[in-house]
Assembly symmetry: C2
Homo-oligomer: 330 residues x 2
Amino acid sequence: RYFHFCKLPGRVMGIRLLRFTSVVIIVLLLVAGALTALLPNIKDDKLPNLRREPKPQSQSALDSFTLIMQTYNRTDLLLKLLNHYQAIPNLHKVIVVWNNIGEKTPEEMWNSLGPHPVPVVFKVQSVNRMRNRLQNFPELETKAVLMMDDDTLVSAHDLAFAFSVWQQFPEHIVGFVPRKHISTPSGVYSYGSFELQNPGFGNGDQYSMVLIGAAFFHSGYLEDFQRQPEAVYALIDETQNCDDIAMNFLVAKRTGKPSGVFVKPVDIRNLEKDTNSGYSGMWHRAEHLLQRSYCVNKLVSIYDGMPLKYSNIMISQFGFPNYANHKNKM
Amino acid sequence: RYFHFCKLPGRVMGIRLLRFTSVVIIVLLLVAGALTALLPNIKDDKLPNLRREPKPQSQSALDSFTLIMQTYNRTDLLLKLLNHYQAIPNLHKVIVVWNNIGEKTPEEMWNSLGPHPVPVVFKVQSVNRMRNRLQNFPELETKAVLMMDDDTLVSAHDLAFAFSVWQQFPEHIVGFVPRKHISTPSGVYSYGSFELQNPGFGNGDQYSMVLIGAAFFHSGYLEDFQRQPEAVYALIDETQNCDDIAMNFLVAKRTGKPSGVFVKPVDIRNLEKDTNSGYSGMWHRAEHLLQRSYCVNKLVSIYDGMPLKYSNIMISQFGFPNYANHKNKM
C-alpha cells in the first residue's frame, strides 16, 4: 500500500499536532510582533535621549557651547563651580585650563566621581600665563565659547538667557560685566566702570568693553587671537592682565561696532572669599586698575588708533524672574 | 613823433598810479581772503546748524524721524501732546492725521502760536478710519517713523533712547508696548499680555508683537502696507481695531524674525482721563480684546500661516536714569 498521510493514524495525529503547533507559533509571533510595536512608544516617553542621540554628547555642536575655565591656586572653587556648570543647558564640553604648573590635575578624582553630564578636559599648561585660556584648543568643537573666571558663579537661568542672546548677536562678546574707557583732553585714556564720568554721548552711561571672564563669544575669535601682533602677547605677559581688554580691541576692530552686548545678570556671585587656598584674585593687586588703563593706552598705540566703541544697550529677560517685570503705570 | 608811453609825463604818472592802485587792490584782496579763511572757524563754534543745514529743517532726513499722530475727538490732548513732542530731539516733522470729519483743524491757532521747532502738517481725512494713519504720506521724508496714540505721553529721554535703538534695529518695530499671542491645542489663537500664560519656551514670558501706538518703525513699512490684501483692510475697517496687529504680521512675514524689539519705558503715561471731551479710547469697548483675538485668527487665515515670532529681549538704557542701574552684588 502507498503511503498516504491521511490514512496513518500516528502520522495523522502528528500532522494535526504539527498544524496546531504551527498555528500556535504563528499566533504567538503575531502577539510578540504587536507587543514589539507597542513597546518603543513607552520607551520613548521614558528615555528619549538614550534612544536618539549618540551616547557621549547629547548636544549638537551648533546649538551648544564650550565652557573654558582657567584655574590657578583655587582648586576647591574650581570643583565647586564645575559641579554647577557641568549641568548648564546647552553645554557641550568643559575645557579646564590648568595653570597650576607641576601640580597634578584632579582628573582622577573627577573620573572616580562620574558619570558626568558632559566631557571635561584638563589642559595642563607649562607656564602660568594669563593668556593660556585664549589658545585655539583642538578640543573646541562648538561655534560658541563661554569663558568664566574660576571664582565666578552665574546662575543657570542667566547663562541660558545670555546664550540665547549670543545666538542673536554672534559677532559680539555677550556677557555680564561691562566696563569702559574714557578720553581725556590730553589724549590719554583711562579705564574704569560706572564710578568714572559718563563719556558724554547723550543721557546716562556707556560701556565699551564686556569682560571675557563671564561672557559668551564666537570661537573664531580664539583663532583670530593667534594672529595678534607680538606686542599684544608681550603686554599681557608683562602685566599678567588685560587679555580681556585685548580681546575687546580685537572684536571692535574686526566688526567696526561695539565689541560687547551687556546682559544684566540676575544672580552673579564672586566666590573668592570662599576659597581655602588663601589666594585672592589678581584684581586685588594695588596696581590692577592702573595696569588696565596702561593697557588701554598701549593697545591704542599697537592698533594705531582706538577701535573701541560705546554702547548703552542693557538687555534683560522679559518676564523673568518676575512675570510682570515690564509692567508700567499706563 | 611816435607815441611812447614812457615819455608822456601825464600818462607816466597815470601808470604809476595805476600800478600803485593795483598793488593796493591786490593787497586788500589778500587781506580779505585771509579774513574769509579765518571767519568760518569762529562762526562754526557759535552757530554750526545755521551755517550748514537749510533753515526750515535743522535735521537731516537720515538721522531724524517723523511723528505720525492720529487724532479723534481729543483735540485738547492732541495740543498738550504736540507741545511736548514738538521738542523731542531728532524730530524732523509732525504729521497729524485728522479723523474729526467735517471739523476744522487747529491749524490757524497752531500758526498763531508759532514759531514752532518743526513743521506740523494737518492731514484732513474724509472718513474716520483707524487705518488712516497707515497711509504712505507724501510729506514723509525720513526713514524713521514714530507713531504715537493721541493719549500717550512718553518722555523725551525714552524717545531719544528708543530712536537710537531703532537705528540699530531698523527692520524691527522698536517700541514700548509688548503683547503676545498664544496657541491652544485646538489651533485657535488668543491675544493678550503678561496675564496670559507664558508661551512656554524656556523660562519667563515672551512677546510676539510691539504695538505701533508708541513705537518707531521704518517708513518703508507704510509703503508695504499699501500692498496688503483687501481682506486686511476689510478686517481693520470692520473692527476699527487691529491695524497694529496687522503691521506686526506684515513685519514678521517680511523679516522672518520677531517683528518687534521691546524697550522698557521709564516714563510712559496715558492721559486719557485728562481729556475734557469725555471720549475714552477704543480699548474701553467691551469687545476690544476679544476683537484682537479674532483679528489674530483672521490674519492667520489671510496669511495662510502664523508669521509672528517670539522674543524675550527687553532693552533698557545703561546707566540711566540711575548711573549705577546695572550694578550687581559682585
